[in-house]
């Protein structure tokens, strides 16, 4: 099953490779990973989308916690959360397609962020389904370039780190 794991790490060099190395070295999946500094510039926030059965997710959370540069790990699937992904899509637009492209942009509440005589560059954000949907509609027009940020997510309420939760579960 897919899990979104939110990892707070030290903002210093080499941390990304420690996390990535953990996933590759132990054969865990990474579907997407995004990382950027937090409000406190000494820390970064990673959002990792991964998948596996319960035992694997438990190991992923524990192994992440074990990394010395990891400050907090939250398996967001254990709480309510909201998530977003942004895609930037460059479509090739011949004259007759330009209106159609703008209509699709409108339906999805996307934005045109750049335009040339032969292209529109469109920014869209939302959940992965929405992004898949707009891609499907734009595809017939001719997508020249597509970049996606991967998902970022945040819990709706303040949460404790998952290690503490795991201990609580074991006690019940």
């Amino acid at each position: 099953m897919e899990h979104i794991i939110s990892v707070t790490v030290e903002n210093k060099f080499g941390v990304l490779s420690r996390v990535a190395g953990l996933f590759s070295g132990r054969g865990f999946n990474i579907e997407s990973l995004s990382v950027a500094p937090t409000l406190d510039p000494s820390m970064s926030q990673m959002t990792i989308v991964t998948s596996g059965d319960e035992r694997i997710i438990e190991q992923i959370v524990k192994q992440l916690n074990k990394l010395i540069d990891v400050i907090k790990v939250v398996d967001l699937n254990e709480t309510e959360f909201v998530s977003r992904e942004t895609a930037i899509i460059k479509v090739h637009t011949k004259d007759q397609d330009r209106a159609e492209a703008l209509r699709i942009v409108d339906i999805f509440r996307a934005n045109v962020i750049d335009s040339t005589p032969t292209t529109y560059t469109i920014e869209v954000s939302g959940d992965p389904k929405k992004i898949e949907a707009i891609i499907n509609l734009l595809q017939p027009l001719g997508i020249k370039d597509l970049v996606r940020t991967g998902r970022v997510a945040v819990a709706r309420e303040p949460v404790r780190s998952t290690a503490a939760q795991a201990k609580k579960v074991a006690r019940e």
Partner: protein
């Protein structure tokens, strides 16, 4: 006053109580060596290969319980020490390795002897650092020792650029360390410990399964109290040997692939497995789906990732063995009474039945070829009063050492379990000898393994480390040969080593002392003479080449299905053969 990076390095080692550094110089670390050369507090043992330096630091650490320290140069010095780092990582050995690095302004330029030391060591260290500024050096070293020795111990690398060793900074050594992402849990959850105590009170067929964690946390006394108070028998992993006295009536010996019959049967039929500082390695679990089918499992481990990694656990307790056992004993002391003993009488009778049905056995004929087990057994009996430290290499001889050398105390057993590194034994023994100059340090080696770090004999002679090496010389990579006999129809693909070199002459060439045991009747005499020699010694013992190590659970097999002796076809094949030469080995064995 300002100190150079090299001076700061030495001051830090002194603060950490480091007396010995195992090291080999090179261009980028010359300043450090030059500074070490001009002081007396920290001794430098010059090794002949960086792998040797790494394993010596491991031996030092395992014998003392403190971090071992090694120092290597950049590039090839670093790549040579990797095996030892990986070994220490698998076996949780506290190690701090300092690697030289090219000057910071050249990093990334493919400079002479540059390697990405941090990148190379990342998967085989607990943590690693690159020091870019001399002002960070002392703090970094403090953190390195802290991380290596606390929680689940492990190797830490500090990459030390040349310019940082020369630059100057004000020296202050921090008193404490605080790393926000690193707070190992020592106290077990009280509620969980209570659950464990209740399960122990109720169990009819309990077994203790103890490992290296008991040694690391120095919890042998607490373990002894628990076992005696509750009368629960104790299985030890290869890494846990010595955690519980090997001759104690409750000791079942080692469990696992080459464990004793009773140890494995007791695991399989137990209704409560109490795992303490052991990590359910595949050499112990065998086939996971059929592991301990009737048991509830309690698991005490300081590393949460060890818990439920391979095996479902019913009562997980994250914490330090010593702390948790104290709490557990405290609860049990108030509740244990005579009833448990009665409750468990049938279990204890069953275990003794197993013990008597299939004890460890071998057959030594009076005039026959020397059996390797006989050598270990006599070595044990001749030395046990001297409380020796014993190291092994990797292979059959390692397993026989584990079976027949019954250690009474922890920190006397140096072996490579997780990585299974041939060539570990001799340098590890030297590291222990460097820590304890007056103790008896034995290395039980194989003729294959010993050749992987033989060069360190020069170090042993020059640095006066009088380790006693006993080579169980079967002319084979015996463990490989055993698998070939059992699973590859006796085809000896690259397992035959022949009879070279002459280890007695080799010892002599190095300035050590060599002995050879020619027949079994000479064994005691030669061993005694060797043990009373005050120089490094090699005792070459040509042993019966086709001896196999039993019990054996084939890889992925089930714990109660052990092979206990050679299958009949193998027995027939090997009868009468005492030694092989390349010409007759196939005829003898395929006849």
């Amino acid at each position: 006053m300002k100190l150079t990076g090299a001076e700061i390095f030495i001051e830090c080692l002194k603060r950490e109580g480091v007396k010995t550094v195992f090291a080999l110089p090179g261009g980028v670390v010359l300043k450090i060596f030059d500074t070490l050369h001009q002081q007396k507090d920290v001794e430098v043992i010059l090794t002949r290969h960086e792998q040797g330096a790494g394993h010596m630091a491991e031996g030092y650490a395992k014998a003392t319980g403190k971090a071992g320290v090694c120092l290597v140069t950049s590039g090839p010095g670093m790549t040579n020490v990797i095996t030892a780092l990986a070994d220490a990582y698998m076996d949780s050995v506290p190690l701090v390795c300092f690697s030289g690095q090219v000057p910071t302004n050249l990093i990334g330029n493919d400079a002479f002897q540059e390697a990405d030391n941090v990148g190379l060591s990342r998967p085989c260290t607990k943590y690693n650092f690159l020091v870019k500024d001399v002002n960070d050096l002392a703090g970094t070293i403090k953190e390195a020792f802290h991380i290596a020795t606390t929680g689940r111990p492990g190797p830490v690398l500090v990459d030390f650029p040349k310019d940082v060793s020369m630059a100057k900074a004000e020296f202050t050594y921090p008193n404490s360390v605080s790393i926000r992402g690193y707070n190992p849990t020592y106290d077990g959850n009280k509620w969980q410990i209570k659950q464990a105590a209740e399960a122990i009170m109720k169990a009819k067929k309990p077994i203790l399964y103890v490992g290296g964690g008991v040694v690391f946390s120095a919890a042998s006394q607490e373990l002894l109290e628990l076992a005696e108070m509750t009368q629960i028998p104790v299985d030890m992993t290869l890494m846990g040997l010595g955690a519980f006295p090997g001759e104690h009536p409750l000791s079942m010996g080692m469990l696992g692939m080459h464990g004793t019959y009773q140890a494995n049967m007791a695991m399989h039929y137990s209704d409560l497995v109490i795992a303490i500082g052991a990590r359910f390695d595949d050499r112990v679990t065998g086939k996971v789906s059929e592991f301990c089918p009737y048991a509830k499992i309690i698991h005490v481990d300081i590393d949460p990732t060890s818990i439920r990694k391979n095996i479902h656990v019913d009562i997980p307790i994250v914490g330090d063995c010593k702390t948790v056992l104290r709490e557990l004993n405290h609860i049990l002391r108030a509740t244990v009474n005579g009833e448990q003993k009665d409750l468990r009488r049938p279990w204890w009778d069953q275990i003794q039945e197993w013990q008597q049905a299939h004890p460890l056995t071998y057959h030594q004929e009076k005039d026959g070829p020397i059996k390797p087990q006989q050598v270990v057994k006599r070595l044990y009996e001749l030395t046990k009063d001297r409380d020796p430290i014993v190291s092994t290499d990797v292979g059959q001889h390692q397993m026989w050492a584990a079976q027949y050398f019954k250690l009474a105390k922890p920190n006397r057993w140096l072996t490579s379990g997780g990585l299974g590194t041939m060539g570990f034994g001799f340098p590890a023994a030297m590291g222990a000898q460097a820590a304890f100059r007056d103790r008896l340090v034995l290395c039980i080696a194989g003729d294959g393994s010993i050749q992987m770090n033989m060069q360190e004999m020069a170090t042993a002679v020059v640095s006066k480390l009088p380790v006693k090496i006993i080579i169980l010389n079967n002319g084979f990579h015996g463990m490989v040969r055993q698998w070939q006999d059992l699973f590859y129809e006796g085809r000896y693909a690259s397992s035959y080593l022949d009879t070279t070199p002459d280890f007695v002459k080799l010892a002599d060439a190095y300035g050590a002392v060599g002995f050879r045991v020619k027949k079994v009747g000479d064994l005691d005499g030669v061993l005694k003479e060797a043990l009373s020699t005050d120089k490094p010694v090699i005792v070459d013992v040509p042993t019966y080449p086709y001896e196999n190590c039993y019990p054996m659970i084939p890889a992925g097999g089930c714990n109660h299905e052990m092979i206990l002796e050679d299958p009949p076809e193998l027995k027939k094949k090997q009868s009468g053969s005492t030694k092989v030469t390349p010409e007759d080995k196939d005829t003898v064995l395929t006849a």
